[in-house]
């Protein structure tokens, strides 16, 4: 019998979604630990003791110098090798919002797996936004986290979430590799180009992306923000309609599936 998948949820330096993110991993069946960046960097906690590595949302270093830059630089200068080995071994890494910005700046999504050739920059609207948006997952993506999810509502809460790619060629390669995992869509399910359905002006309406192998995911929307059904802004409305239709009111939110996918995969393949 396999053991529980071990998930590390990183915190410190202004990360602030560690509590609910770790909670979502636990709900999904993982043995989740919240680990401070300093404990990871000084070797007190070892990355390679875990199956899943998650950098949650927040404002590491206040987004000073550009979101995620300082945190990513620390990760790289202290545990670059461990992180490389972690990813190479097929274990799972997940960066949510600020975590996405951080992971992207480590270069892990680069075509050579080291050099950053995509970025997340200031939203076209010029400011932070908290709103729920609609997403559509790419069913052909190799991404472990998003398997079996089609359309989903999730909250976005960021100021720097616009996906930008170095050049046309790189973008084409990313598309061919199915590395753009999820797109902001309009009410008809088509990729959204306009604000607020595409809340930041992302290229390709990209909201989530993965590395070529599909074991590392960046996501600007917060899946842990919809771990429970009652977190949906239309919870009361949906509840009333389900009740009248004689249907059961779910407890879990759709976002939890991303954590369940990760934990399921880790339990089957790694643990």
């Amino acid at each position: 019998m396999s053991r529980e998948a071990k998930a590390m949820v990183l915190t410190g330096e202004g990360i602030n979604c560690e509590y609910e993110t770790a909670h979502a991993f636990s709900l999904a069946g993982a043995d989740a630990s919240i680990v401070r960046l300093s404990d990871l960097l000084c070797g007190k906690t070892k990355l390679l003791d875990f199956d899943i590595f998650c950098v949650p949302g927040g404002f590491s270093f206040g987004d000073d110098l550009g979101s995620g830059k300082v945190f990513a630089s620390r990760l790289k200068s202290f545990i670059e090798r461990d992180f490389e080995e972690f990813v190479e071994s097929g274990r799972l890494a997940l960066g949510i919002c600020n975590g996405a910005q951080i992971l992207m700046r480590t270069g892990v999504f680069g075509l050579d797996r080291k050099t950053q050739d995509t970025t997340l920059t200031f939203n076209d609207c010029g400011h932070f936004h908290d709103r729920w948006i609609k997403l559509k997952m790419d069913p052909d993506s190799k991404c472990v986290f998003t398997k079996g999810i089609g359309l989903i509502d999730l909250p976005i809460r960021h100021a720097e979430g616009k996906f930008v790619v170095k050049d046309r060629e790189t973008l084409e390669t990313l598309k061919a590799n199915r590395q753009i995992v999820s797109r902001y869509v309009d009410e008809n399910g088509f990729p959204a180009t306009k604000f607020p359905q595409n809340p930041n002006g992302s290229a390709e309406s990209a909201a989530m992306g993965c590395n070529k192998r599909g074991n590392v995911l960046w996501t600007m929307p917060h899946p842990e923000g919809f771990a429970y059904f009652c977190q949906h802004p239309n919870f009361a409305r949906k509840k009333e309609l389900l009740k009248r239709a004689g249907k059961e009111i779910p407890t879990k939110g759709d976002g939890l599936k991303i954590f369940e996918n990760a934990v399921g995969f880790a339990t089957d393949n790694l643990a």
Partner: protein, 1001 residues
Amino acid sequence: MDSFLDANQSFIQVGFRQASTDALGEKMKKDAFEDLGTTGIQDVKTAKMYSIDFALSNEQLEQVTSKILADPVNETYSINTQLEIPDGFDWMIRVGFKPGVTDNEGKTALLAIKDLLKIEADKKSKVYTSTLYMLKTKDMKEKDIENIASNLLANKLIQYIKVTDLKDWDKKSGLEYMPRAGSNDPVLAKEINLQVSDSQLTDISRKGTLSLNLKEMKLIADHFTDPAVFEERSKLGLGKNPTDVELEVLAQTWSEHCKHKIFNANVEYTGPDGKTQEINSIFNTYIKKSTDIIGSEKDFLVSVFSDNAGIVKFDDTYNIAMKVETHNSPSAKDPYGGAITGVNGCHRDIMGVGIGAKLIGTTDVLCFADPFYDKPLPPGNKVLHPRRIMKGVMKGIEDAGNKTGVPTVNGAMIFDNCFLGKPLVYCGTLGLISKTVAGKPSEDKSINVGDKIVMVGGKIGKDGIHGATFSSETLTEASPSSAVQIGDPITQKKAYDFLLKARDLGLYNAITDNGAGGLSSSVGEIAEISGGCIFHLDRAPLKYEGLQPWEILISESQERMTVSVPVEKLDEFTALAKEHEVEATVLGEFNASGKMHALYDGKTVSLLDMEFLHNGVPKMHLKARWQPTKRGEPADALETDFGTALKKLLSALNICSKEKFVRPLDHEVQGGSVGKPFVGVENDGPADAAVLRPVLDSFEGIIVSNGIIPQYSLIDTYHMSANAIDEAIRGVIAVGGDLDEIAFNDNFCWPSPLEDEKKMGDLVRANQALFDYTVAFGTPCISGKDSMTIDTVFSDENGNLQKVSGIPTLLISAMAKMKDIRLAVTMDAKVEGDLVYVIGKTKNELGASEYYKMHGLVGDNVPRVDAQTAKKLYNALSDATSKSLVASLHDCSQGGLAVTLAETAFSGGLGIESDLAMVPAASFLTDEQVLFSESAGRFVATVDPKNRYEFEDALAGNCFACIGRVVETPVLKVKGLNGNDAICESLSDLKRAWQSTLGAV
């Protein structure tokens, strides 16, 4: 020497690549158009400049820039040269900070540089940041550019601006900004001679921003000449006068801000009946007494009025704390900095309540003047335009909440031009705390003699000096700019993460925040527990050199907490702080000497009797008088076209959608958000209250709502107060809460009643209502705050002094436990065919209503709250919501029934057909009165026809009626009393009216 050539300095600029969007530039262009009407800007490119004030080699600079400062995909940079200026760009604005002003980004840059290069930088190593705006303009003159710089991009009080015409551009001239702070003045404590004339005493107080009145100054002078006092002091080399340190400490501790002298004064009140009564402390007589009465029957009160915040029981494991603060004066001077320090300051109240609580939510209520104000502002450029204040405050709230990971769960925005001089910035925070922490009741603070005084968090600078005394003063043109400061949310977040861990390990005995009055207040207050303290000011970490001892002691530099650490835990405490990269400095220790003893370089600079310090302030004696003013009610109908009137009302500032300003606030972080600020089919309808779930393993939750209606003070503060209470309660009930679970924070913002019997009378009446209604509803106040000088004085064109004063305003913030948040109700109509009910009786109560305001009227018939009727109704409604009998429920407040019906309909995307004749109302009302009266205690509900009888049974014995149905056609139809359509408006028109004023998002 040309700084450009100085080898110990370097300058790095980072901008966007030509092909990349410059979203910050685009935003600036948009703001310049929206806020200043500027049309001449064709293009803007922004860049960030880092001025590095220590030596780095070219290789090091290249490494730092390419690896951290500049993004490899969309950014470009230059080192020690000006970035390429695109063709056709003709102006450059540079905005940086004045010396000594917090530069968070500079601090982070220094850390990142040290990190990457693995170098140790000394104390004097600094990085300063500034922002460059390169502009391509058409027909814009230097003064237009200056206008953008000083009225949009920077606040000259704290920021540095340089405008350059790029025609005569010298590339080197851009690289010079190095705002070093600090002074070389000798650092010492001075004796202040108080053996002088009365007028000189008054002068000393005024010039020093001490805010001490003559009576207090004389009392202080006498205290120090007391032979017994002198004898003790002389042994430590002090004289018959206080030192500047002591005088400053007394001024802070005795300030209105800290001592609430007006609420504790003896008041002689003459009421409308002509009878005079003595009130010995408004606080004790009304607020505290009410809680004492209610508290004898409630089992959820844990700690009231005795700590930084009130604490109530949540469940078997946790308690909840709540506090609401104001930060009005600083927000008037620097809206961004004022708001950020207001919110983060209130967070520290919660971090310092009991043994320290976890921050779980913020609620902010803001009062501004009209953002579209188009009359001249008071002369002298001392009052900022209301739009600028509003935008700056919102940005401050955004950064303070978002960056510390505390959700801004809800709030309110009120607009009235009486707030032109000072906005009201109410910052409320909720905290969660285990009942017992490290084996002790978490609400207790204890200090043992010998415990170390440890300051944790930020460093001390000159910022925020005289915040406490300044806030207790009328704002004038001469008010000190050092009272303004910018917060640093990340330093606070790091200190907070560390302190929660230290708390759970039991590493400290007591904690409190450094807020108004700085160390003087924090150490001074908790030293009362042990009975004295001794500490060394020269040990405190400073942002820069040259602070005088008194400045160190009273500086309100943010992000600092003071804790008492037992000697045996000290090593563990400081080691943990180091691990978290948090500053923790031992300043001294607590003792039982009865003295607040402060030293600088081993020399005593303050030796104050704790008793005199805390209890020496003389009681004030104030007169109060109140008589109603009769204005009369309009004799005829004010409108005939109620559809148009409704749209106009929906677009009124106090009613319209605030979504554009709320979306930038993270209301969902921590994962507990259930009832969001905006609800409905398109997530854009106005929720009545927030519902949050602080513990994710449980479905128990907390409701947060606010009641505030300053307009009613124009008629009678008694009813203003009563309606604020009722509104806060209605918010709780509307989302499915229970009256029995409610606890309040009261927060008074008043124009100075010191030499104004009427305003003091207003205060007495508001408190009488607070007593009457909290007792009647059984809703106790657990904590409160007051800000008693919402006045601004300026000199007009003729040099005459003019005063702008806010109207008396009471904010009631309610929190209530909700047993199962899955039963939460929202305000949007949900299903076609549902029945529409109006609950509660409508009366002819349009006095000071939004409808009258729209017509320039005030009237007399201010809504009166019938607590007994309302209480019965609220309990019945809670019963109905707990049985899921209600599909939607919406509080009926400003704008009356018409607005409530419209909001219910357009938020649900479903029409409503209704009939005014069915509305439960007093006799002989007109259509206009039924539609727009603001009578208290009312709701609109929609109910599944299947639940009709059960719902009506639940409400039996109360005043309610079914007035119509939810329909699919997207139209709001209201049949008038004569059978004709009083209102027939499409939902899209109504919604557009509601959303367009402050801009659809």
